[in-house]
């Protein structure tokens, strides 16, 4: 033990003296340490790190000893390696931390217990992969940790002595480590991969088995961005798909699904995963027809074609302010509901290219006339095929007026990631029984609402429908709420 202490004291002295003397002088001026001994002392130190905490290398070394300092700093290089939560298997993505066995600054050896976690009936003991000092514990007891994210950092002094017996854990973790190391010291360790990217992009590349050197980078210094790799994947997939030609007899005509129809296929397949609830309602249109006829001439003078849709859209927006959950989205894993502030009502349109759903932005702030103007603009753009991404993205609620073509009863399909949709059938003149028990005729439109049953229940959509019905049957009510 005393030998150790003496050596440590000697090393400290060595550093202190290094601060003052230059390289040439140093080589001659230390009689008690031969160059051979210097090597043995430093190598001795590499093994004795476990029992002593060393002083960090002095920051201000004179320039003449820069050469020597890089050599000694290789021995003293303390790197904080993140220790990620390894993949436990069986599709487990997150675990609860039950107990920590280490504290910040505690020294651990390989295979020492770090913490205990639990995931759905399985308790797992996480052990350390290398020797070092624990730093920056990321979670407290009772927190949920995600697989792949670091649990804590281990400051490993000297070379990485990880010799892991568990093959899969080693493969995943060392890959993660190498990538993390790259992120921390990018200019130095470029010899492994010459591509400059973020770990997220590397992960995508790994998943799709793409060689990053083949992807063209569009960021600074040729950095490969997420868009680049996604574009590369798209480019890779499309020629493949075009090559796939099903063998069919000469009587059938093969038409590849492209463009808008392809987008529709994709969205509808995604919508199928969502459990949908449909609610139908019959709405009496007489008063609205009367009002619209009265307003039609004024609107035409202002150059706007006033149909029933602007009224429906505005009524929807008013009702959505009372039922904000219908103006939301569910994220992919169905963990969070994202409430949107603005009502961007998407209108389903049939264009020569197929079904498109552009939306009118911020309907809650617009008047019926402005909504009508926007609708007209969108319809013109759709007909001429000039709809851009700006009109198509960020819709929060959908309406479909398929009844304009034909149809009475519909069961529309929710357009993910939205949570609700409404569809209108044809306005028909039918006999109804009025309050006094007499039969009279009225104009009836059938409205069907569909909603994502994961977060919307029947009562909510029914109440929404009831409010919407009253807005349309007695449009004067909206006057009270004009903003």
């Amino acid at each position: 033990m005393s030998l150790l202490i003496r050596n440590t004291a000697n090393i400290r002295n060595l550093y202190n003296s290094l601060k003052k003397i230059s390289l040439a002088v140093y080589a001659t001026k230390l009689p008690q340490y031969n160059p051979v001994d210097l090597g043995s002392i430093t190598s001795y130190r590499r093994y004795s790190i476990r029992s002593s905490i060393l002083p960090s290398p002095p920051r201000s070394l004179p320039r003449s000893v820069q050469y020597l300092s890089t050599q000694t700093s290789r021995v003293e290089n303390t790197r904080k390696i993140p220790f990620p939560l390894a993949d436990i298997g069986e599709g487990i993505t997150e675990v609860e931390i039950l107990k920590w066995f280490v504290k910040d600054g505690q020294q651990v050896k390989q295979f020492d217990k770090i913490c205990e976690v639990q995931s759905d009936k399985a308790t797992v003991e996480i052990t350390s992969r290398f020797d070092g000092i624990v730093r920056d514990i990321q979670y407290k007891q009772g927190d949920i940790a995600k697989v792949g994210k670091p649990l804590c950092f281990i400051e490993s002094i000297g070379e990485d002595t990880a010799a892991n017996t568990d093959a899969e854990v080693a493969a995943m973790s060392t890959q993660a480590d190498r990538k993390e190391e790259h992120e921390e010291i990018p200019p130095v360790s470029r010899e492994h991969e010459k591509v400059l990217t973020t770990p997220a992009v590397r992960r995508i590349a790994r998943e799709h088995k793409i060689d990053l050197t083949k992807v063209k980078g569009s960021g600074n210094h040729g950095r490969v961005l997420k868009e680049d790799i996604l574009a590369y994947i798209e480019a890779q997939q499309s020629p493949l798909e075009e090559q796939v030609k099903p063998s069919v007899s000469l009587d059938s005509n093969i038409e590849p699904i492209r463009g808008l129809r392809r987008a529709m296929t994709k969205t509808m397949t995604a919508s199928l995963a969502v459990p949908q609830l449909t609610l139908g309602e019959e709405v009496v249109m007489d008063r609205l027809i009367h009002i619209r006829n009265g307003l039609k001439s004024t609107a035409e003078k202002l150059g706007v074609r006033l149909t029933y849709m602007p009224f429906f859209i505005k009524a929807t927006s008013y009702c959505l302010s009372h039922f904000p959950i219908l103006n939301s989205s569910v994220d992919q894993s169905c963990e969070n509901i994202i409430y949107h502030r603005h009502h961007n009502i998407s209108i389903a349109m049939d264009t020569p290219m197929g079904l498109t759903v552009p939306n009118i932005k911020h309907v809650e702030e617009k008047s019926v006339l402005e909504v009508a103007k926007d609708l007209q603009v969108l319809m013109d753009m759709a007909e001429s095929g000039r709809l851009g991404e700006e009109q198509l993205k960020d819709g929060t609620f959908s309406l479909s007026n398929v009844g304009v073509i034909s149809g009475t009863y519909t069961a529309p399909v929710v357009f993910v990631p939205q949570v609700a949709i409404g569809a209108f059938g044809r306005t028909r003149r039918v006999p109804v029984v009025n309050a006094h028990g007499h039969v009279e005729t009225a104009h009836i439109i059938n409205v069907s609402w569909s909603a994502d049953h994961r977060i919307i229940d029947g009562a909510t959509i029914a109440r929404f429908s009831k409010m919407w019905k009253s807005c349309v049957e007695e449009p004067e009510q909206l006057l009270l709420h004009l903003k």
Binding site: D120, K121, T123, V124, E125, Q141, T165
Partner: protein, 340 residues
């Protein structure tokens, strides 16, 4: 290698399982039966899952295992099976499939594997599972209901009536259960054990000698030759592990006495230490005395005898007028909370 332990002490058997996990290297199939006891999962709250009063009056042991999951009832008609393997070979369903195949082949029982990784006999649960994974080894254990006392099971696995618990602990998923014996009354524990061993050997491609005892009786009653097992047994038996290793919880209970009523809320940290007390009372006792009682109780282990000692001490020093009332409160603690 298949072993059946001779001990029926739950703590000894759990310690044996842990010992085999840590100190042996080969794959082991371990069987054991216990005297009536209730075993809670690693991260559960005992008051919430177990009827502590029922267990106390009927001599049912309460234990905490090292693997996760929900709460189970053990008795001599309940066979526990544990498969201890290396971590690479850990598989969630291997043991259950083996048991299911064995029961189907030998006894023609219509057992199915459900998605929650339990075994169901005509929609009633007969076996559940729990797992533990360490650096190099892992185990999967399950308990198979052969001829257990289902009435006791139902009574023991209920929320303690007297306490309202607020905690983030793991909750058990309740299921309707039935005994294998109810389907086929000629079943014996030993026959089932033999069938499972045989199936295990067959699945592993090992040679099976018919009419031979397939497993080895393991005497773990005397643990003196295995010091690690002894240490583990002591630890699993200790109050610190059983009552102290659950997550933080808030316990609320109502104490009714002849002279009034007390609404007591204890905030207990992991390690079974009380960090917060709240008392509301409708008796005539002045609030300062309750405040001094609160000060006496904070930082103390949440155990019956400890709390009652603290209360009697405090009342002796300060609340001489209300000595009788505090004595009754102390007695309540002694009777209703777990003792050292």
């Amino acid at each position: 290698m298949c072993y059946f332990t001779t001990s029926t002490n739950i703590f000894k058997n759990l310690a044996t399982e842990e010992y085999f996990l840590r100190h042996l290297k080969n794959n082991i199939l371990l069987f054991y039966c216990n005297t009536p006891s209730v075993v809670v999962g690693r991260n559960q709250n005992i008051f919430k899952e177990v009827n502590v009063e029922f267990c106390k009056y009927n001599g049912v042991h309460i234990a905490r295992r090292r693997s996760g999951g929900g709460c189970v009832y053990h008795d001599l008609g309940n066979l526990n099976i544990s498969l201890i393997t290396s971590r690479k070979e850990w598989n969630k369903t291997r043991l259950l499939k083996c048991i299911r195949n064995a029961l189907q082949k030998e006894f023609h029982l219509p057992i199915e594997l459900s998605e929650r990784n339990d075994l169901r006999l005509l929609d009633r649960k007969v076996a559940g599972s729990a797992y533990r994974i360490t650096a190099e080894r892992a185990y999967h254990h399950t308990t198979l209901l052969v001829e257990a006392d289902l009435w006791s099971l139902e009574q023991a696995l209920q929320h303690s009536g007297k306490f309202a618990i607020d905690t983030k602990a793991t909750e058990s998923v309740r299921a309707n259960v039935c005994n294998l014996r109810q389907y086929k009354s000629s079943l014996h524990m030993i026959d089932i054990c033999r069938a499972i061993c045989k199936e295990w050997y067959l699945e592993n491609g090992q040679h099976v000698v018919p009419n031979h005892e397939y497993f080895v009786w393991l005497d773990n009653e005397t643990t003196s030759h295995w010091p690690e097992l002894e240490a583990e047994y002591e630890y699993l038996k200790s109050i610190q592990w059983i009552w102290g290793e659950g997550p933080n919880y808030r316990l609320r209970c109502r104490l009714f006495f002849g002279w009034g009523y007390l609404d007591l809320t204890l905030q207990v940290e992991r390690g079974n230490r009380i960090v917060g007390v709240d008392i509301n009372s409708s008796s005539g006792i002045p609030y300062q005395l309750f405040e001094s009682m609160i000060r006496a109780l904070i930082g103390v282990h949440c155990l019956g005898n400890v709390l009652s000692n603290k209360v009697t001490e405090m009342s002796r020093l300060e609340a001489t007028n209300y000595g009788e009332q505090f004595h009754e409160i102390a007695k309540w603690f002694l009777n209703n909370l777990p003792n050292e």
